[in-house]
């Protein structure tokens, strides 16, 4: 059955992939009901990935506010991406797939995927745009060290959009042996749901942790949104809490939700950057992880029903927060969550929770170049 979020989502893919998506849907439904799946995944998340990640109170970054950071930057491989990669690797093994393809933008999902493939002895091919390979060179080297083959994508925008298209084309060609380990809550059903459910651990932990620390819920929860997987994972811990304001922060030049229109990209109907004829237009962001003209369909739905507010942050604002967090708190954030920090420091309210989705080592060269 085709899953949708309101009018969004669906399976806009060539027929060749439909049986694989049916198989994936059935495999995911079975895994969700299987205690052995959860036990295996939980063991990996605690003993290998380093969960639970801490909640850190910062007081110098935004004087007068109590901002808590959910520290996904401290997860193994340095970003929230590993939650999803581990879950899908366990799922792929259940489905009997021994080859993994993935796309990557900032390289964090590629590194997470290469990591789990090394851990399980799976063949790993990662597609990455040449522009992203340039600006995230350390991650390209990490993937190679982990035994993955990084295939450069040299056409179109040479960024995450084309890398995703090429990963899907590879999957179409090798669908019998290959699992497509998508990195965000985008793509055809059931991927947006699978990735969301694998990232919900962020929000579940954060809700318990902030209640333990403060005895109350935050006034606002803020996360950056590219494809939107760390955001959906964090937000899901608080969607039912009507008094908690939820804010997603897009890169101003890649605001699929803020300035986009309804369209189809990479297998799903969602809010995308497109012209009036439905041709996808270029996104622009200093942050490779947010430099994508689409977004998970569930975010479009949450926008439409008014539960989550989506705002933008510019490259300059993100860079300022990147530097300020390093100087005031001793934490170097990735450029992606630096967008969330930029809006969080000025948001109304005193107790704020921010998803710190990854660490900034990968961005040093790009930031120093600016």
């Amino acid at each position: 059955m085709t899953t949708t979020f309101g009018a969004y989502g669906g399976r806009y893919v060539p027929e060749t992939l439909i049986p694989a998506l049916d198989e994936l849907t059935a495999g995911w439904e079975a895994a969700k009901e299987d205690d052995a799946f959860h036990a295996e995944l939980n063991h990996l998340l605690t003993s290998y990935a380093g969960r639970p990640t801490p909640l850190t109170l910062i007081e110098r970054f935004a004087p007068g506010k109590s901002i808590y950071l959910k520290r996904e930057d401290l997860l193994h491989t340095g970003a929230h991406k590993l939650n999803n990669a581990l879950g899908q690797a366990v799922l792929a093994r259940r489905l009997g797939k021994h080859r993994i393809v993935a796309e990557t933008g900032a390289g964090q999902h590629g590194v997470a995927t290469a990591t789990v493939c090394a851990r399980f002895g799976l063949e790993c091919v990662v597609y990455m745009g040449e522009e992203d390979m340039r600006r995230q060179q350390p991650n390209v080297e990490r993937m190679g060290l982990l035994g993955a083959e990084v295939r450069p994508v040299d056409f179109g925008t040479k960024t995450l959009k084309e890398a995703t298209s090429e990963a899907i084309r590879d999957w179409i060609t090798n669908v019998d042996t290959t699992h497509y380990l998508i990195g965000s809550c985008v793509g055809p059903a059931p991927y947006p749901e699978i990735v969301r459910d694998l990232q919900r651990v962020i929000g579940n932990e954060a809700r318990e942790q902030i209640l333990a620390a403060e005895g109350r819920l935050p006034e606002a929860v803020v996360a950056c949104v590219g494809g939107g997987s760390n955001a959906i994972g964090l937000f899901y811990g608080f969607l039912e809490d009507a008094d908690v304001k939820i804010v997603g922060v897009e890169a101003a030049g890649a605001a699929s939700l803020g300035t986009g229109r309804t369209g189809v990209l990479h297998g799903a109907l969602s809010s995308v950057l497109a012209d009036e004829d439905g041709q996808i237009t270029d996104a622009h962001s200093i942050s490779a992880g947010l430099d994508y003209p689409g977004v998970g369909p569930e975010h479009a739905y949450l926008r439409d029903i008014g539960r989550v507010e989506y705002v933008g942050a510019t490259d300059a604002e993100a860079l300022a927060s990147f530097r300020d967090l390093a100087r005031t708190e001793g934490i170097i954030p990735a450029l992606e969550p630096s967008h969330a920090l930029a809006r969080a420091r000025e948001i109304k309210g005193e107790l704020i929770l921010v998803g710190l989705s990854g660490r900034g080592d990968k961005d040093l060269a790009e930031v120093l170049r600016q």
Partner: protein, 230 residues
């Protein structure tokens, strides 16, 4: 007599190219309406689409090309082939209405599989990975003929005709009652002959685009070589 389907990309020169293909022996012309992110297409069709878009070929211009092709070819089946994002932006019903008004015979929407959007009349595709159930569904919903995607893969020439084709034809014959035209990976007269010996017709895309680079005469000659082989 086997059916020969030739794919051309919608550009200003398309009507003359389509006429040359018909003179060479094509029965049906597919006209690609380019999309920026064509997931089902290999490099040749993708690059042709990028060029068409760079030349300003948006939906309105593509419909105009379709209408001009119809003027040159009053009796040939003309089938636009495109992606869902174009229809979503233009309006699904409006697109179907305007394609028909411009002379389109049917259409192919590569990323809207059988079962979805049942109201949209179109040629359905099946693949070697399709289950019997899905082949039957596609056969029941298709408009006139069924497109057999011969390989698990994207469009583009291959070294030989897919070994998956005989099995797919055999299943489709058992499950549906419409003509079966095989496409993806067919480029030479030898491929054409091998595929046409199994199916009721063949579709040639990427190689036809490359031949069309040489102009109408080159395309006519190439299509004639396919016609002679089947």
């Amino acid at each position: 007599m086997k059916t020969l389907v030739i794919y051309v990309m919608a550009e200003p020169e398309t009507p003359e190219l389509a006429r040359a293909a018909v003179e060479g022996g094509a029965d049906i012309i597919e006209i690609g309406f380019p999309f920026s992110d064509p997931l089902a297409d290999g490099p040749v069709v993708r690059r042709a689409g990028e060029r068409a878009l760079a030349r300003g070929m948006r939906t309105r211009q593509c419909l105009d090309v379709l209408a001009r092709t119809r003027e040159l070819l009053p009796d040939t089946a003309l089938v636009p082939m495109t992606y869902a994002s174009i229809l979503e932006a233009y309006g699904w019903e409006r697109f179907a209405t305007d394609v028909e008004a411009a002379g389109g015979t049917s259409m192919i929407v590569v990323d809207v599989p059988a079962g979805d959007r049942p109201d949209l009349r179109r040629v359905q595709l099946v693949a070697p990975t399709s289950t019997d159930e899905r082949i039957a569904l596609a056969g029941a919903q298709t408009d006139g003929w069924l497109y057999l995607v011969t390989v698990a893969g994207t469009t583009g020439a291959r070294g030989e005709v897919s070994p998956a084709l005989p099995g797919l034809v055999e299943r489709a014959r058992r499950l549906v009652d419409v003509p079966l035209y095989a496409g993806f990976g067919i480029s030479t007269p030898e491929h054409a002959q091998a595929a046409a010996s199994l199916a009721d017709g063949i579709v040639v895309g990427s190689r036809a685009l490359q031949e069309a680079e040489g102009g109408p005469d080159a395309l006519r000659e190439y299509v004639a070589s396919l016609r002679a082989a089947i």
